[in-house]
Symmetry: C2
Subunit: 508 residues, 2 copies
């Protein structure tokens, strides 16, 4: 097989299997790939009640919810050797309205207000029914994580585009602060967690329903022929929670030719989109694939999500972002992600080369975040005594910079940002010493995916009806957020829709 | 079959055929639908050299080009009773650089300038290689239509977003001025033109290549069970030129929930997207489906493309668009389509209800377009002696309106628009009597579709390679234009890519 690529074989096997009338799902011997095919005549290697693909937020939440609802044979499959998927390395930020911390801090919020913020960021094309469904169950989803042992900082953050402070963050400032407790809970309640298992396609019944999957077990990431394909029947259905495709450079460049392999990405390497594309081959409706989000809080000085992302998310409300060419502010530091990413990408020299802007924070404020020590330690952020030192280090014109900071401080005093209309509720007067990081967007999140309804059912493009036996949850779905997703709204979506998928599967 | 819908049957037959190992493509008796399936064991009802689906600009151009290149058995299939598809009712506007009319009018233009205009309108995500391929062959494509007998107005227009005048328009101000001559040419050179024939799915060879199609012949639009399905082998390949999906309300709402059935649409009723979705089921990459364009030149006072669209496209350069609430201009009248459609959609009363803006033209200028008499005759445009009369009729504050027109006239005199930076090259002083139409965007064009390369080959999402035997051209393809397509750039794309698909199929 050495001269024929994996993908050619995949295509070959697909059509060969179908053409020859071979029981395409029969347990294959040797290194072959396959895609969805008929289950008729298939020898089932295994039968399970509920089969979940992907062990990020959505898959883990679905497993727990299904078990709570009485399902005693829940299996969660993960292609990587470790569990948690891309969720484990995300920022651990969780937005919900009407939470205990909002009550404690006296924040007035509601499902309506949160949905309205998201509609605005979605620029008119968000799926309001899905947003409302998620916001209505977000506090319940948060409680599910707390019940499983997740720990959060004792304060709320107000992230860009949110009209109030409604965002929890894990105590470890990272998604693993949720995936790890959820995984432990799965083990505790008897969910079968199965790593090194790669989804290879659906097995379809005569009525078009998803009856099971082909799963390559004993798989080693990067070794496509490793392990063996098993036919696994899923009596209650299959929940696809395989995440986005931000790490699939070919497919993201098909949507946006500027997102070459040289553009940074915060995602785990497994975020390559095969699950999503296999659902398109079944007839799922592709929605909003063109909307790929870059995180405006990322640093060009470190790989992936790194330490700076959470540092700057925490600091934006009381910090100033400066264009190094002009020494002036160039954006509302807490605008929505797309607004800020677009503004940062416009910071360039006269030849059009990137000039990453800097985020200046007062050390008295920044030191309250645990990442501050780390960004300085790892040399991806720096401490300066004065604005003059900053100007010298980053080659910023010093007088405009000093004038800008003075001007900003009057906005702080008056509670009104005359430049960009920033909400100054959490702003503080800027004073040395300062900490500074550089900013440059990285590919972070795919708003696009398969179309689902509020039952997490996957809709068929011809019939407009759900594909029986198939559910999807999390980033693999598309359309809910529209053009731009607000920060900290992905975790509630993943967990609520994972829970929803489990409920739908068990009540079908 | 009365209790089971067409689409349910479609789904049923798809999976039943596959499951039972039935030769899914065998000529079926009775009213059934099917989707793509294996060609092995299929009884071919007919064999042709080249099979083209869709008789709009792309399909017709492909037919002619293939015949010119020596293919003597070209078949073009059309599901409607009439030929020409949505192309026949479009505006008949054709942009090309380096044409005879540009030489005559002394317009300096080039492929580079045209591509640069399109990149700008595409907002960074257009496919530059495809744009360049089309622009490089646009003059040749224009000549193909002229050779077939198409007639054009003897002047060029400068459409919104184009930096120079480069747009031809058919003498009948409508796409039929091209489709009809191309169709006649097809008949003359021996292309087999077959109407009432509905595509039902591909037939795939063992190697995954497209070997032919299932075609429902004797089909009556709207009667899904009419006619009979035939298996047609296409020895040189299949070219899909089935157009966009602007008339499929479910699918366009999946991308943009605001595009309900109550939003107007300029397209022919057949623009429903089945060909595109069937290619997704084969594994084609969906690109930019979220980008659906509304035409800013449409009128809320008539159905479809109507008479106003071409009237206003012609008049925008020397006219003023007015917000009826304020009496003031609210956009550059020749900005790109998306910029203008968004600006018009923002014209609303205090309750958010639409307040369609008005386009005011001097009658001395507007009367040069043949549609002016028609818009007045059919009461979708009106002639007024004075601005006072306009203000009274449309309930516009009169003093701001008069001040605005005076102000605009100074811009005309100075050759510089201080309000919106409009290119004033073709602007003229506004003077009564005036003609006025109302503006409100209508869904017009789908930027999204299947990903193709500059050979019109369709790319597979798993392998990144072309699907053998399959080509696509025209609006069914996605990604070339990016976020917003410039006016008059669709016809050159359709014709160039249709010609390209024919060349690729014959040289494969």
């Amino acid at each position: 097989m050495s001269k024929i690529s994996l993908l050619e074989r995949r295509q070959f096997i697909k059509t060969f299997g179908a053409a020859a009338g071979v029981a395409a799902g029969a347990a294959v011997s040797g290194p072959v790939m396959a895609v969805s095919s008929s289950s008729v005549g298939v020898k089932w290697d295994e039968e399970v009640e509920l089969l979940i693909i992907g062990s990020g937020f959505a898959g883990l939440a679905a497993s727990i919810e299904a078990t709570k609802r009485g399902c005693k044979d829940v299996h969660i499959f993960e292609k990587m050797p470790y569990f948690g998927g891309n969720s484990a390395i995300n920022g651990g930020l969780f937005a919900a309205p009407g939470t205990p911390l909002q009550q404690k801090e006296g924040v007035k919020d509601s499902v309506d207000i949160m949905v309205a913020d998201q509609i605005k960021s979605g620029r008119g094309i968000a799926d309001v029914a899905l947003l409302r469904h998620v916001a209505s169950h977000a506090a319940e989803a948060l409680q599910l994580t707390i019940d499983a042992g997740a720990e959060f900082h004792p304060y709320l953050q107000q992230l860009g585009g949110h009209s109030v402070a409604r965002t929890y963050q894990t105590a470890v400032s990272c998604g693993a602060g949720i995936t790890q407790p959820l995984y432990n809970e799965c083990k505790r309640i008897g969910v079968k967690t199965r790593n090194r298992s790669k989804f290879e396609g659906f097995l379809l019944g005569q009525d078009g329903s998803v009856e099971g999957v082909k799963m390559r077990v004993g798989y080693y990431f990067g070794k496509d022929d490793s392990g063996a394909v098993k036919n696994i029947r899923a009596k209650k259905g299959v929940i696809v929670a395989t995440g986005g495709f931000a790490q699939n450079v070919t497919l993201r460049m098909a949507q946006d030719p500027t997102l070459t392999s040289e553009v940074g990405c915060t995602n785990a390497p497994g975020a390559t989109g095969e699950g999503m594309y296999e659902m398109f081959r079944l007839g799922a409706i592709p929605v909003h694939l063109a909307h790929i989000q870059s995180g405006p809080w990322a640093s060009p000085d470190e790989g992936g999500f790194g330490y700076v992302s959470n540092y700057s998310i925490f600091n934006f409300p009381h910090s100033v972002a400066i264009n190094c060419k002009t020494g002036k502010r160039f954006m509302n530091e807490i605008a929505d992600r797309k607004t800020r990413a677009d503004a940062e990408l416009a910071c360039r020299d006269s030849q059009g080369n990137p000039m990453p802007p800097i985020l200046i924070s007062s050390f008295k404020d920044s030191k309250n975040h645990p990442n501050t020590a780390k960004v300085i330690k790892y040399n991806v952020g720096w401490k300066f005594e004065s604005l003059e030192d900053i100007a010298k280090h980053f080659n910023v014109p010093v007088e405009p910079l000093k004038a800008q900071i003075n001007e900003y401080n009057t906005y702080v005093k008056n509670g009104k940002d005359e430049q960009f209309g920033k909400d100054m509720t959490k702003a503080t007067e800027m004073a040395g010493p300062f900490t500074v990081v550089r900013l440059w967007p990285k590919v972070h999140y795919c708003q696009g995916g398969v179309k689902v309804n509020t039952k997490a059912e996957v809709i068929d493009s011809f019939s407009g009806k759900p594909i029986t036996g198939l559910y999807a949850a999390g980033e693999v779905c598309g359309g809910i957020h529209g053009v731009s997703r607000l920060g900290s709204c992905s975790i509630p979506e993943c967990i609520v829709m994972g829970m929803t998928a489990a409920r739908s599967a068990l009540s079908a």
